[in-house]
Structure formats: structure tokens, C-alpha cells
């Protein structure tokens, strides 16, 4: 659950505000403008009117939060966040959001020497040259703990 909370905390505060405003606007539009002027809808019972004024707003609210999440997450991953936010918001049926989750880049890691954000899998920081992970002593490519030989040059580790 803590992982989920961490992810929710990424959503920018304005996204919550925009989502709530949209929900409220839809509710007011239905109650004040749609029901009084539609002869079919005006005959609905109060519970039904409230349900179709409130419930459709929930997925819209969630969608705004997810678009906010896509914005913040793509930004921290060093991706093209404007493009991804627009795709998430504009492709109908939340398909842009699904697409983002399938195609997003892995999280960058912080260089312990200069603090730069670096793509995972690098053995050295491209900004300062500081070591990021274990490297092969022969070809200097990244190796993983547990390997006895380098996967690139075959040298014994």
C-alpha cells in the first residue's frame, strides 16, 4: 500500500483542484441546466438524478489525477512530459494513459558524486565520471552482482 501512496503523492496539487472543479461543474450543469430543460430527464426520480449527476464525475476526476500523475512521473523520468501529458489527456477512453504506463522509461538513478540524474544501467556518471555501479575491470561496462564473468567481454570478475 505504501508504494501506492508514494505514487499518489506524485500527483500535483492543481490536478486535484482541476478534477474537483470539473466534477462540480458537471454536477451543477446537470442539476441546473440539463434536468430542468430535458422533458425525459426531468421525470427521473431524485435518487436517479443525483446518481447520474455524481457518478460520471468519478472517472473524470480519476482521469484528471492520472493525467497529473503522467505529467509528474514523465518529468522525473526525464521523458518528454508535455507530449505525454497531452497524449494522456487527449486520446479518448484513457488509452493515452495506458500507453504511457506501457512505454515509460525506467526511473533514473542519482549519481552519488555530483547528484545528476542518470539512466539506470550505466557504470559511470556521464556528467562527472563517478562510479554508479560495479564495472568490468577490462571493458569498464556495467556488471551485476552475482556475475562471475563480464557479459560483454567475458573477462573473469
Amino acid at each position: 500500500m505504501s508504494r501506492f501512496q508514494d505514487e499518489v503523492e506524485l500527483v500535483p496539487r492543481p490536478a486535484f483542484a482541476i478534477g474537483l472543479c470539473l466534477w462540480l461543474a458537471f454536477f451543477l450543469w446537470m442539476i441546473l441546466l440539463r434536468f430542468p430543460h430535458d422533458p425525459q430527464l426531468s421525470q427521473w426520480p431524485l435518487a436517479g438524478k443525483l446518481a447520474i449527476s455524481i457518478l460520471p464525475g468519478i472517472p473524470f476526476f480519476a482521469m484528471v489525477l492520472l493525467v497529473g500523475y503522467v505529467y509528474a512521473d514523465s518529468r522525473r523520468r526525464g521523458m518528454r512530459y508535455v507530449m505525454w501529458t497531452l497524449l494522456a489527456a487527449l486520446i479518448p477512453n484513457a488509452i493515452g494513459i495506458v500507453l504511457y504506463f506501457v512505454l515509460r522509461d525506467p526511473l533514473p538513478v542519482d549519481c552519488t558524486r555530483c547528484g545528476a540524474q542518470v539512466r539506470p544501467g550505466f557504470a559511470f556518471c556521464p556528467k562527472c565520471g563517478g562510479p554508479l555501479s560495479m564495472a568490468c575491470p577490462q571493458c569498464r561496462r556495467a556488471v551485476e552482482p552475482g556475475w562471475t564473468h563480464c557479459a560483454s567481454c567475458g573477462a573473469q570478475l
Binding site: P56, I95, G96, F101
Partner: protein, 160 residues
């Protein structure tokens, strides 16, 4: 348990008994059975012979940092499995969410347009037209995703 079944179950324990891996109860049960069963007694003697022979062989040296490497690998595999589970859950929830949003959009579109939005002779807010449009959109998106994933995998392979 019949005598035959008891014999079969004891016979399975014989190699473990020779290796000293049985608990006290199992060991007692085996000894009681072996006292009366000549076949098991002989087989146990053979297994004991193997066991003693194996103990006399030179022990291979344990690689340095084996424990540390194994532990690191276990931690990595567990983290990778948790990540995979999280990704599967997220994508499952998102697929469900996409369906919900699709249906909600259709419902709201019907309310907003009064059930009729005719473009080039087709009523776009009819359920059939709407779901056909959604299906085409999903297939197109899946194709884009597949192309992008394929391209990324090729780049990764080239980088390695």
C-alpha cells in the same frame, strides 16, 4: 495403511536415513520396519555404503562470497518479482479504468447530445458505432505501442 503401502513409504525414506536427514519419529518407524523387512534392511545397508563413500570423497572448495552473492541475487529476484507484480496490477487496473471511462464518455455524450450526433449519416452516440470506434482506437494504439516497444528493444540490443 496396508503393509505394502507402509513398505513403499519406508523405502522412499531409506536414502534420507542414510544421509541422516530423518527426524526421530521417522527414524524410529524406519528402524522398526527394517527389523522385520529383509529387503529394506539390505537396501539401507547399500545406501549407508554410498553415504560413507561420499563422505570420504574430497570436499570441493566453497567459492568465495558465495553466501553474499546468493543473498544479493535472492534480493534482486524478489525485487524484480515485486516490480513485475506491481506492473501487472497497474495495467490490469488501467484496462478496467479505460473501460469505465469509455462507457462514462458514451453515457455523458448521449446526455449532452440528447442521444443523437449524426456525422456523415452515422449516429456516433449509438452504442454500436461508439464501441466500434473505441475498438478501432484501441487497435491503433496497440499498434503504436507495439512499434515503439519493438524499436526500443532493438536499440537496447544494439547498446549491449
Amino acid at each position: 495403511m496396508s503393509e505394502h503401502e507402509s513398505h513403499e513409504s519406508i523405502a522412499r525414506l531409506l536414502p534420507l536415513a542414510a544421509a541422516g536427514a530423518l527426524d526421530i519419529q521417522e527414524q524410529r518407524r524406519l528402524e522398526e520396519h527394517a527389523r522385520e523387512c529383509l529387503v529394506c534392511r539390505r537396501e539401507l545397508e547399500i545406501w549407508n555404503g554410498y553415504s560413507q563413500g561420499l563422505r570420504q570423497l574430497p570436499q570441493p572448495p566453497i567459492p568465495a562470497q558465495l553466501m553474499e552473492r546468493t543473498r544479493t541475487r535472492l534480493v534482486q529476484e524478489r525485487a524484480a518479482a515485486a516490480e513485475r507484480r506491481w506492473d501487472e496490477l497497474t495495467l490490469g487496473a488501467l484496462a478496467l479504468f479505460a473501460w469505465t471511462v469509455g462507457l462514462t464518455f458514451w453515457f455523458v455524450a448521449r446526455i449532452v447530445t440528447g442521444g443523437e450526433l449524426v456525422v456523415m449519416g452515422a449516429n456516433l452516440v449509438r452504442f454500436g458505432t461508439w464501441s466500434a470506434g473505441s475498438t478501432v482506437l484501441v487497435w491503433m494504439t496497440a499498434a503504436v505501442a507495439a512499434i515503439a516497444l519493438g524499436r526500443r528493444r532493438r536499440e537496447l540490443r544494439r547498446a549491449l
